[in-house]
């Protein structure tokens, strides 16, 4: 078991070092690269913690899609003119006090989290006991789609709201128009080649991740993020046009997940024990149907979030 411990210590040290690098390095571009590395290492930590569902989410969303977003931002913000600053950077005395205070918070947290003795409180047995009623075998999917389904439903709305918030930042004339992704017409042959070869594989992988999510690690978030990445790649390479935000099919794809979730939830009032309850006989097919719809919505929402606010008027 000592080899495992050595790996854990090395991994934890690397994650902390990457985090420090991200904070301390002078160049913003280097900080973003450090952050992406941090996200990928963190995904490994989740594997070590036996939380493979989280690992997949962290790798796909925390490391992957966030990385694309940040790289685009650092390109837009730190090229040419001086970067935006919100007030002057604090002096050395403030830094020292802040460092001390933050170290104290970290120490307090470590003390509280690690200082627990006796049996750890857990809901795992309860979740395992009720999992058969959902027809699923992956308990995390059970929590997300059944036991705490309201969290997941509201969080879908949060995702849509963030997209509306991003769209609201468009210039007045561009509302309803298209976001820009990449440099239109200037994508290199290499990128186009990659964008032709990768998406068929990626789509299969995304759907596979969604499908196995019922029984093994995976699910709507992770599958949706993979699909989103494929679409982003195709749009950046210019193979698929970035849609105008007013397009009806786009709007339909955005809302189909939350609406399907809601519809099944409301139906539960009449055919099962209440709102967001599933009739035991049909629980698994219903949950899979919801997940399929959510995956599509997540993929489209994530990709449009990366594309950003519309910049130019759409085609009439």
């Amino acid at each position: 078991m000592t080899a495992g411990i050595a790996v854990d210590i090395g991994l934890a040290a690397l994650v902390a070092a990457m985090a420090l690098w991200t904070i301390l390095v002078r160049d913003a571009y280097a900080a973003v690269i450090g952050f992406i590395g941090y996200g990928l290492l963190l995904a490994l930590v989740w594997v070590r913690l036996d939380a493979v569902d989280v690992a997949l989410t962290e790798a796909a969303i925390g490391g992957g899609v966030t990385g694309v977003l940040l790289l685009r931002a650092v390109g837009a913000l730190h090229r040419g003119a001086a970067p935006l600053e919100d007030g002057p950077p604090p002096g050395p005395a403030t830094r020292r006090i802040a460092a001390l205070a933050c170290a104290a918070v970290a120490a307090g947290l470590a003390f509280v989290v690690l200082g627990v003795s006796g049996p750890a409180p857990t809901l795992a047995p309860l979740a395992a006991e009720h999992l058969p009623a959902t027809g699923l075998k992956n308990p995390v999917t059970g929590v997300l789609l059944a036991f705490r389904a309201l969290d997941t439903l509201l969080e879908k709305v949060v995702l849509l709201l963030a997209l509306i918030g991003i769209w609201s930042l468009s210039p007045d004339g561009a509302w309803g128009g298209r976001p820009t992704l990449g440099r239109p017409g200037r994508a290199s042959d290499t990128l186009r080649f990659l964008a032709q070869l990768l998406p068929p594989v990626g789509i299969v992988v995304g759907i596979h991740v969604l499908w196995v999510g019922a029984n093994a690690p995976g699910g709507a978030f992770q599958g949706g993020a993979v699909l989103a990445a494929m679409w982003i790649l195709a749009m950046m390479a210019g193979l698929s046009p970035v849609p105008a935000i007013g397009r009806p099919w786009l709007r339909a794809a955005l809302v189909i997940g939350p609406l399907a979730f809601l519809a099944v939830g409301v139906a539960g009032i009449f055919i099962a024990d209440g709102f967001l309850a599933y009739p035991p006989a049909f629980a698994k097919p219903l949950i899979l149907a919801i997940e399929a719809a959510i995956t599509l919505s997540i993929a489209v929402t994530l990709a449009m979030m990366v594309a950003g606010p519309p910049q130019r008027p759409g085609a009439p």
């Binding site: 904070i23 935006l84 705490r148 963030a162 994530l302």
Partner: protein
């Protein structure tokens, strides 16, 4: 032991993220610091979940589900914040040329 190591790591990440939020002046760097802080909080959830493992389940699924929800919310926040910062930079330039 695994839990102690990653519990310390999570606590350290919270401290590092908080420090970054305080000392960084550039909005993009603050967004990065916020994400580091969030990662630390999630990691603490993960340690708590791992500690709640029982026979047949390597980790308590309830905190895991919360972390997945949390990662998606943190991503949404990052995307919105980045769009705001980028728009602010564009607008700042626009105002100098246009309105005045």
């Amino acid at each position: 032991m695994t839990m102690t190591v990653f519990g310390l790591c999570g606590a350290a990440l919270v401290g590092i993220g908080l420090y970054g939020l305080i000392v960084q002046a550039q909005p993009l760097r603050r967004i990065l610091a916020f994400n580091l802080l969030g990662g630390g909080v999630f990691l603490l959830f993960g340690v708590i979940a791992r500690r709640g493992a029982v026979e047949g389940l390597g980790s308590d699924p309830v905190p895991q589900a919360m972390v997945i929800t949390g990662i998606v919310v943190a991503f949404s926040a990052t995307a919105l914040a980045i769009s705001l910062v980028v728009r602010l930079k564009e607008t700042g330039r626009g105002d100098d040329e246009g309105s005045a």
